[in-house]
């Protein structure tokens, strides 16, 4: 019994890795065969980014147990710092995969810094107060980036904040050889798109390794202990602030890397893309996939990114259907009567998965 159960967590992890690898190989094969249509091919990188976002948010919401409504803010920080890095290093690092990797690392670092800035004050709050403040931070990050002007020329990086709406990219006084990278509310335009599906796959794998191994280490245990009972966690010597911050910042850094990849997948990107709705979108992946359930996040992110595409035929009714499906799923999975009804139709699974 004992050995069997311990194997179960390892087995769940193994299946998760294997599933992602197999899915990647199949998609690569299908794409190379030209079976995939254009819209789905275009979705490959965003799906990887959203999977990564969902896994990392699950670390905050499912494992740490704190509701964050501003996860898109970290994605945004990662996306724009990644774009700036990649655009500035175009001549220094001509080898694209390396430049992409550097951009993603820089994106992760900047998002981690943002995570520390947000986390230190926010993690002192509890419950819905914390949620509303992360929401506020997400909006603040969006607004700040919306004012950002960044250009690069032979003298290096030029930056300005367009606070009153009176400045434009010309105020940066770029050299004739310079390039405008971020143009305030217009966002990043003319970005060289260097993101690739392979990079997306690597990102998902790295995110999985980090989150799954973290959860199964003493750090993850401490974080889950705080989630289950903060006072008891303190009473067994766990520094609550430290572990909360570790989880939150790790989650932010992973979102930053995903953001960098996402940003480098589109030639044009506005800060408003990463608004409250995007945070909610990712939260929906996490909740539908199951709190603390990593492979659930992977599947939910994939299905729910493809679903709206698949509903394109319904056009205007697409989001309406999405909303109704969302409400019905929540009712079906959380209402005791509905659960009982489902239980009669679907035979009950033996043993609930814990933190799988």
């Amino acid at each position: 019994m004992k050995k069997l159960t311990i194997k179960r967590t390892t087995r769940t992890d193994f299946i998760t890795y294997l599933g992602v690898i197999v899915a990647f190989l199949i998609m690569m094969f299908l794409r190379d065969q030209g079976v995939l249509n254009r819209s789905l091919t275009g979705q490959l990188v965003p799906i990887c980014c959203y999977i990564s976002m969902a896994i990392s948010l699950n670390l905050t919401v499912g494992i740490l147990g704190e509701l964050s409504l501003g996860h898109a803010g970290f994605m945004s920080v990662g996306a724009f710092s990644g774009i700036i890095t990649a655009m500035s290093l175009q001549s220094t690092i001509p080898y694209t995969p390396l430049r992409l990797a550097v951009a993603m690392v820089v994106g992760a670092i900047f998002a981690a810094i943002a995570g520390i800035i947000v986390g230190v004050p926010v993690l002192r709050l509890r419950g819905d107060y914390l949620a509303i403040v992360t929401l506020a931070f997400g909006e603040i990050i969006k607004d700040l980036i919306n004012c950002l002007l960044v250009g690069y020329d032979s003298n290096g990086l030029h930056m300005a904040l367009n606070l009153t709406g009176s400045k434009s990219i010309t105020d940066l006084n770029l050299q004739p050889d310079g390039i405008a990278i971020i143009k305030g509310a217009q966002g990043a335009t003319g970005t060289t798109t260097i993101a690739s599906f392979t990079a997306g796959f690597v990102l998902v794998m790295i995110t999985l390794v980090i989150v799954l191994n973290l959860v199964r280490s003493r750090t993850g245990r401490a974080v889950m202990a705080i989630r289950d009972n903060r006072i008891a966690a303190e009473s067994v010597g766990i520094n609550v602030t430290k572990y909360k911050l570790i989880a939150f910042v790790t989650s932010a850094a992973l979102a930053g890397a995903a953001g960098a990849l996402y940003g480098l997948n589109f030639s044009s990107l506005q800060a408003t893309k990463f608004n409250f709705n995007t945070s909610i979108l990712v939260l929906v992946f996490v909740v539908l996939g199951g709190l603390g359930n990593i492979w659930g996040s992977v599947i939910a992110a994939t299905v729910l990114t493809i679903l709206p595409e698949a509903l394109r035929g319904f056009d205007d009714y697409r989001m309406l259907i999405y909303a109704i499906v969302l409400i019905l799923v929540m009712l079906a999975t959380n209402n005791s009567q509905a659960k009982a009804l489902l239980g009669r139709i679907i035979p009950k699974r033996k043993g609930a998965e814990t933190n799988g």
Partner: protein, 282 residues
């Protein structure tokens, strides 16, 4: 105190060489001086003076609302005392947080059980060993040798601790799904896993039947004997208190009204009046 991670084995027992021979009076593990707390002018506990010997089993009794759990909360810094000092092994715990006090040597259980209910029994115990484990977050992520080594030791030790209460077979169960008695026992084991020198038990026998209580009594003594630590317990079961406690402190309205051996307490008229009520049941 031997709190280090030695020879690849976590030592659950501070070695005999460090812990002196049983000496209740001369080398106290805990000393409270004029300890007190006010909640907005209301004195919940005041002038609480108590000394506990290194391997003493002490009882804290008193009627409901007397402030017993508040004393535990003060000792573990869930509340910061507004008056007085706490000396743990001669060291002032002033300004420490709950987590720091635990690392300094006080572990506790809770009146209303507070387990990590979504985690396994084994995880509940290994999480309590967190501050004794040294491998870094990166070693954990990359599964470096230190991760495997320390995790293996932690697991071995957790199973060893579980064997105190014969609970090894429950190691992989979810803590929240355990029966009530097992949850209480797990909480004690979890507290022990932090390697304390003073164990605070808040109503350990609550909700237990007489045979379970008898077993618990044996186990508390066994824990004290094997680990050579001091135990302080809050309990309403007088049979338990009178049988295993060497020193008893009686609280009423936040103040100590009596201190002494079980015999002294049993014959103390103030205690009988305050705690048991005026002689009615004879």
């Amino acid at each position: 105190m031997a709190k280090q991670f030695q020879r690849g084995k976590m030592v659950p027992v501070p070695s005999r060489a460090i812990v002196p021979e049983r000496d209740v009076d001369k080398s106290p593990i805990l000393e409270c001086r004029y300890l007190g707390i006010e909640f907005g002018g209301l004195k919940a506990v005041s002038d609480f003076n108590l000394t506990i010997g290194r391997t003493e089993i002490a009882g804290l009794i008193g009627p409901n609302g007397a402030g017993k759990t508040t004393v535990f909360n003060l000792l573990t810094k869930v509340y910061q005392p507004t008056h007085g000092t706490i000396l743990l092994d001669g060291r002032d715990t002033h300004g420490m947080t709950t987590a720091q006090v635990n690392r300094a040597g006080i572990a506790r259980t809770f009146q209303n059980i507070r387990l990590f209910s979504n985690m396994s029994v084994l995880e509940n115990i290994t999480v309590a060993m967190n501050s004794q484990m040294k491998y870094s977050m990166l070693s954990g992520i990359f599964r470096l040798p230190s991760f495997w080594k320390e995790e293996r030791v932690a697991k071995e030790r957790a199973l060893e601790l579980l064997s105190i209460f014969d609970m090894q077979h429950l190691a992989d169960h979810k803590a929240g799904s355990l029966p009530y008695g097992a949850q209480r026992r797990l909480e004690i084991i979890r507290a022990l896993a932090t390697n304390p020198s003073l164990l605070l038990l808040d109503e350990p026998a609550a909700g237990m039947n007489p045979s379970e209580t008898a077993e618990l009594m044996e186990n508390i003594v066994k824990i004290r004997d094997t680990f050579q630590i001091a135990v302080m317990l809050i309990e309403h079961d007088m049979n338990l208190v009178m049988n295993i406690c060497e020193g008893i402190c009686v609280l009423n309205f936040g103040q100590v009204i009596a201190k002494g051996t079980p015999e002294e307490i049993q014959s103390n008229p103030t205690v009988i009046e305050a705690y048991l009520g005026k002689k009615k049941e004879g």
